[in-house]
Symmetry: C2
Subunit: 194 residues, 2 copies
DNA sequence: AGGGTTAGGAACCAATCGGTACAAAACACA
DNA sequence: TGTGTTTTGTACCGATTGGTTCCTAACCCT
């Protein structure tokens, strides 16, 4: 009954997310967004309301795509015991660092630091994602024999901060030298918890 | 022999640094900088070359003022053993979090994530600061009895990433709930090292 | 084939961006 | 009290920012 759109909103959103991920909110200009999404202004403002809206959508998209994947990995018994799964996640990060340096880092972590995201809806979304990660660590730890709830909680939080720290170092281009050592410390935290 | 300047370049630089610290490079507009520094454009461009230059100067200023202070604290035997000094540093961060939420975080950590600082002179300065911190942790650990060089190195790096992770959580407004648990994990790392 | 409806694209908008030019102002020295 | 020198403030600059308008193109349905 009307002209069909010539682009897939999902892949366009994905491209936008990647740009925000790389550059942050302010530094990702509308022109760069349009270029990355391969659409023009008309289509952009018709499909998404404005820059801020698509930023929020990008956060949701990251939650659905990346965080959910990470949580799933941490929850899947096929990936070993709770401790093994957590270590497996860090191993995957180390792999990414080895492969391409991981200069993108973690969108969640980057956005937590990005002042453009502070306050309002964005911050609430970010905090929710952090808690999802924390709880995924927590549950994985809790599954292992002999780990009490308080111990699992505090260990989860320690691992969470170690995780963000590692991603910061990755973005700074320093993780290649440091990742292995950092992960060995996480190994220790897991050992003392279980 | 000429008109004297009406402002102290050092305090103006300090104000500029604080704004970059809070907002990041892009988000700190020239207008906001001038307002924070309480000078006008003419004075600004005469005393500092341009925005990018004063950003680099701000990084140096942070290195001289904050990082040097932190390194000094970590090196001073009056603050206890190596492990005690490291824990003392985390305690000071926890205090800042308790007091005002620490929504500023750590300028070094924020700048590591800020894409505007990636590549070029800024990145080199940032990496140098990271290494200063790492070495301060390393030396503090090495002082304690029974800690080998390899153990001190990897522990220092693990603590470094935990430190950045904690500051990220602080900036996100989540550290109030999590700081104590995170620090307890650092305590464990220190215990196993020594 | 024609009408209804929506997407696409270019022209245009005010506001702001970082940066420059230049004249007035304020001092030190003679 | 000039005079030379530097700072200060303001007017101005082109480029870019995010956003709107509106016309045309492309499609579905009758």
């Amino acid at each position: 009954m009307a002209r069909p759109r010539e682009f897939d909103p999902e892949v366009a959103l994905d491209k936008a997310m990647t740009l925000f991920w790389d550059l942050g909110y302010e530094e990702a200009s509308l022109a760069e967004l349009l270029s990355a999404m391969e659409i023009t202004k008309g289509s952009f403002y018709k499909a998404f309301q404005d820059k801020h809206s698509i930023y929020l959508e990008s956060l949701d998209h990251y939650n659905d795509k990346v965080i959910s994947g990470t949580v799933a990995f941490l929850s899947d018994p096929e990936n070993g015991s709770g401790a093994e799964r957590i270590l497996g996640l860090f191993g995957k990060v180390a792999e990414a660092i080895d492969h391409d340096g991981d200069r993108l880092g973690c969108f969640l972590c980057n956005a937590l630091v990005d002042k453009a995201a502070a306050g309002g809806e964005a911050e609430a979304k970010l905090q929710a994602m952090v808690h999802r990660l924390e709880n995924a660590f927590f549950k994985a730890l809790l599954e292992d024999t002999g780990v009490s709830e308080p111990t699992a909680r505090e260990t989860a939080r320690g691992i969470l901060s170690a995780y963000f720290g590692l991603r910061v170092l990755g973005r700074a281009g320093l993780a290649k030298q440091m990742a292995d050592d950092c992960i060995r410390q996480v190994e220790w935290l897991l050992k003392k918890a279980g």
